[in-house]
Amino acid sequence: MFKKEHIDAVFGVLNSDYKNHKDSEQLHRDAHLAIAYIDANKNVPTNTDPIVVTLLNKYGPKD
């Protein structure tokens, strides 16, 4: 389950490194939806931006 520290880490990077990215808003939408699916033990949607997938793998819960 994503806890505050995981969530803050993912969105912290999105807000700093990708703030001016052309699809910045879509990255936020993708990240929220992907986290919801992971928390529900489902696969991340295939159309999730790879940037988001990388961040979730890096900062998400490891268990």
Binding site: K4, H28, H32, L33, A40
Partner: protein, 468 residues
């Protein structure tokens, strides 16, 4: 983690033998069937499992979030269906409208709308002043818009409905629908102001990522900024309608003429959620609503059953997460409509003190993820996407801390003690309190009271304050 098991199950025990380890393994099955979700549930080795029986009642197809997005399909589970639009008794709606007409909060709640300025932070106070200055001419333009004559005569044999819809979508409105301008929902003070019979319902999406920071100044920039943008877009759309030969009256989102949500529901743009807000397909309640009424002979849209009435009964995240405990679990009949009735006095102090609050908007899964994935997840699993997770339910309250799922802030009793009623009611309440405290009032206090009342009467205040 699953939902609590219903009581109508049955239990059996079986004993299996392990050949190699020669251990006896006891597995207890507890099998139940839920009439509510139409799923089989069972416990195996202490863990709850669920066998989903996927049943889709119908699929709603809606245009994309913007003109650049594809159409979406929203599967509505057979366990969520109720009625298209809203559960209501039309006769009762008419009765209350005739005998107890509703009034705008700008008038009916004027006392606390003035009070909010006293609890704003410095930054919020300055930003509201800025917003009001920007917004005032837009509201004034809307107020006189119904008096402006069309530029030409209507062209024959054109589909004016689709032309207006297309123009509104090009301007950026995410949801556009047409219905009868139902005068039963018009505010008492605006009844003579409303001119035209047909309503164009327009929802403008509020910025996604700013809204996810609720409650914050960032989210307030999105909230008030959307109003400013919407007011300007409405002028442009009304000019387009006049260029087509028809009249158009702008019903400002900041000087509302009526309760708008019932008309949005009738136009098929969403359904009323447990948070008291319109839940529309793409952004849930993360939008700002306004109406343009017109004499153009438009075709009305139909109300839709998105499954929201039952969905909110299962979800209840907004109810559970409301910092002020202002939302209620059970629906009541209110003025002819079955709905979750917000407790205003528990909402307003939190909203005023903590940057507009809006937690009920923040934690709505439909706001966060969109209706299509949420409803698909419900069909697949019988669960509410995001419910019980910190990512959906967690929020921070300035000066109080972070509240993950399952934890809520607390407030002193005095925190909820706010002024009530109209401005004159509040003045009279203060005057009575002075008499109660002092035993009598001085002549100067009586004169001051009279002057204040006279000022209210002479200004003939509509209550407009450029706010929410």
């Amino acid at each position: 983690m699953g939902t609590p098991l219903p009581k109508n199950g049955f239990c059996l025990t079986s004993v299996l033998s392990g050949n190699t380890m020669r251990l006896y393994l006891y597995i207890i099955y507890f099998i139940t069937y839920s009439n509510k979700t139409r799923n089989w549930n069972f416990i195996l080795k202490g863990r709850q499992h669920r066998v989903i029986t996927k049943q889709i009642s119908h699929t709603v197809r809606r245009p994309g979030r913007t003109l650049n997005h594809e159409e979406v399909e929203i599967p509505v589970s057979s366990v969520l269906t109720t009625v298209p639009g809203v559960v209501k008794r039309d006769k009762d709606v008419s009765f209350y409208s005739s005998n107890y007409p509703i009034e705008t909060q700008n008038i009916e709640k004027a006392a606390d709308r003035e009070w909010v300025w006293t609890v704003y932070t410095g930054e919020m106070y300055e930003y509201r002043k800025h917003h009001d200055a920007v917004n005032k001419p837009l509201v004034e333009a809307a107020f006189i818009s119904g008096n402006i004559e069309p530029i030409t005569v209507p062209e024959q044999n054109i589909d004016i409905t689709e032309q207006i819809r297309q123009k509104a979508r090009e301007l950026g409105f995410g949801e556009v629908g047409f219905t009868n301008f139902d005068k039963r929902y018009v505010y008492k003070s605006k009844k003579s102001w409303v001119k035209f019979p047909n309503a164009i319902c327009l929802a403008l999406e509020q910025d996604y990522w700013q809204t996810q920071t609720i409650p914050s100044m960032e989210a307030e920039f999105a909230h008030f900024g959307t109003y400013e943008q919407e007011g300007a877009l409405a002028i442009e759309l009304s000019e387009f309608i006049r260029e087509k030969g028809y009249r158009a009256q702008i019903h400002s989102p900041n000087d509302n003429s009526a309760a708008y949500i019932p008309m949005f529901v009738e136009a098929g743009l969403g359904q009323l959620g447990a948070n008291g807000q319109l839940l529309s397909p793409h952004f849930g309640s993360r939008s700002r609503l306004m109406i343009i009424s017109t004499d153009a002979d438009v075709n009305f849209d139909e109300p839709i059953d998105y499954g929201i009435h039952s969905f909110c009964e299962s979800c209840q995240v907004c109810v559970d997460r409301c910092p002020g405990r202002a939302l209620v679990k059970e629906k009541v009949w209110w003025r002819g409509v079955e709905k979750h009735k917000l407790m205003y006095d528990r909402c307003r102090p939190v909203m005023a003190t903590y940057e507009g609050c809006g937690v009920c908007m923040l934690v709505c899964p439909i706001q966060r993820y969109g209706m299509a994935p949420v409803m698909q997840h419900f069909v697949d699993t019988g669960d509410i996407l995001g419910k019980g997770t910190d990512n959906l339910e967690g929020y921070e309250i300035r000066g109080k801390g972070y509240y993950p799922s399952g934890q809520l802030p607390t407030f002193d009793r005095q925190f909820f003690d706010i002024p009530h009623g109209t401005k004159d009611e509040h003045l009279f309440e203060q005057f009575k309190n002075k008499i109660a405290e002092q035993g009598k009032v001085s002549e100067s206090q009586a004169v001051e009271f009279a002057v204040n009342i006279e000022e209210l009467i002479s200004n003939d205040q509509t209550g407009f304050d450029s706010g929410v």
